[in-house]
Symmetry: C2
Subunit: 170 residues, 2 copies
DNA sequence: CTGTAATTGCGAATCATTCGCATCTACGTG
DNA sequence: CACGTAGATGCGAATGATTCGCAATTACAG
């Protein structure tokens, strides 16, 4: 699953940020790199266990904390459950997430307005932005239509398995 | 502390949204109305206890949940601690919060860009926004300067007693 | 090859929030 | 204005994601 070149590259990335290249960290980074989803610690742990049956959940949490600190992974929060942290490899361009409350689908949206707001606020107030947490919620076109027709299962308690809020680090 | 007119007005507001006007709810709403801060359940509980020594923390949580559902209070998340929920009375105009990582100060910022982004995304993708969670972090002008000079106490673990992320409901 | 500081695994601890349940109470109705 | 009942409350216990303590390992500079 982890290719040789990937292993080498990740080792270098870790060295660059001054982190020891432990097999657990290599594994976690590889897992985050090969998925499009936003995984929480538990999900990462489950996947990691398939390659390293001994890995512990605490290690996953600690590795993620270090990797986040080093800027290799980004932590995300999901709109409806801010207690659960999700992670993704830092690589995709700046984007935000819109979660449909009807079907749970997550739509990635892109807009320059947020960066613009930061720029303007920065200039106007002298603020130095380092971090932002942005997430949207509502209904996708299909669910919005259903809702207007009254055929949307209310309180379907959607399971947000994929997306969550987006946190942008500079 | 709770004026007669306030009491009457809150009663009406509660009736309008179909909630029973219990003394606990009146108290909690009054507390949220008379402060500029963003309080978490514990803080609200502490204040409420001064007027109703018997009130329970669980009641505070349940009341806040109902009031939020009814649109009378808004729930906020703070950037550095998304596990703790803060609340404020719904009244102030749309604004966002910027938290200084140096001194912990919270600056309310206003910008039309977020609404603009929602509008544009709504038109372009047919999304129906109902909710957004926005919060910024960084350094205020003073702390930014100190940081450049290297005189900013690093990792001062600022206590964010006042502000937190902003959640906007329609 | 060695010494050592960083890291791991394990289970226990945190701690904000939620729940279960028995007891009250707000408020529409008669 | 007393009643009945759905809805609220208080209490303590439960949840559940994340963090901690500590002894055992291990990455990696010298």
């Amino acid at each position: 699953m982890i290719t040789q070149e990937q292993r080498v590259r990740i080792r270098r990335q870790l060295a660059e940020v001054g982190l020891r290249a432990t097999p657990q960290r290599l594994l976690i980074l590889a897992i985050l790199e090969e998925t499009d989803e936003h995984l929480d610690a538990e999900a990462i742990y489950e996947r990691a266990r398939q390659w390293d049956a001994q890995i512990s959940l605490a290690t996953v949490y600690r590795a993620l904390a270090k990797l986040k600190e080093a800027g290799l992974v980004a932590q995300r929060y999901f709109a409806r459950d801010h207690r659960r942290e999700y992670y993704e490899a830092v690589s995709k361009g700046e984007h935000y997430h819109f979660t449909c409350l009807g079907c749970g689908k997550v739509i990635e949206v892109r807009t320059p307005r947020i960066a613009q707001a930061r720029q303007e606020l920065s200039e106007a107030l002298g603020l130095e932005f380092t971090h932002a947490c942005i997430c949207f919620e509502g209904y996708c076109p299909e669910c919005a239509a259903k809702r207007r027709r009254g055929t949307l299962e209310s309180r379907a308690v959607p399971r947000f398995t994929v997306g969550n809020g987006v946190t942008i680090d500079d």
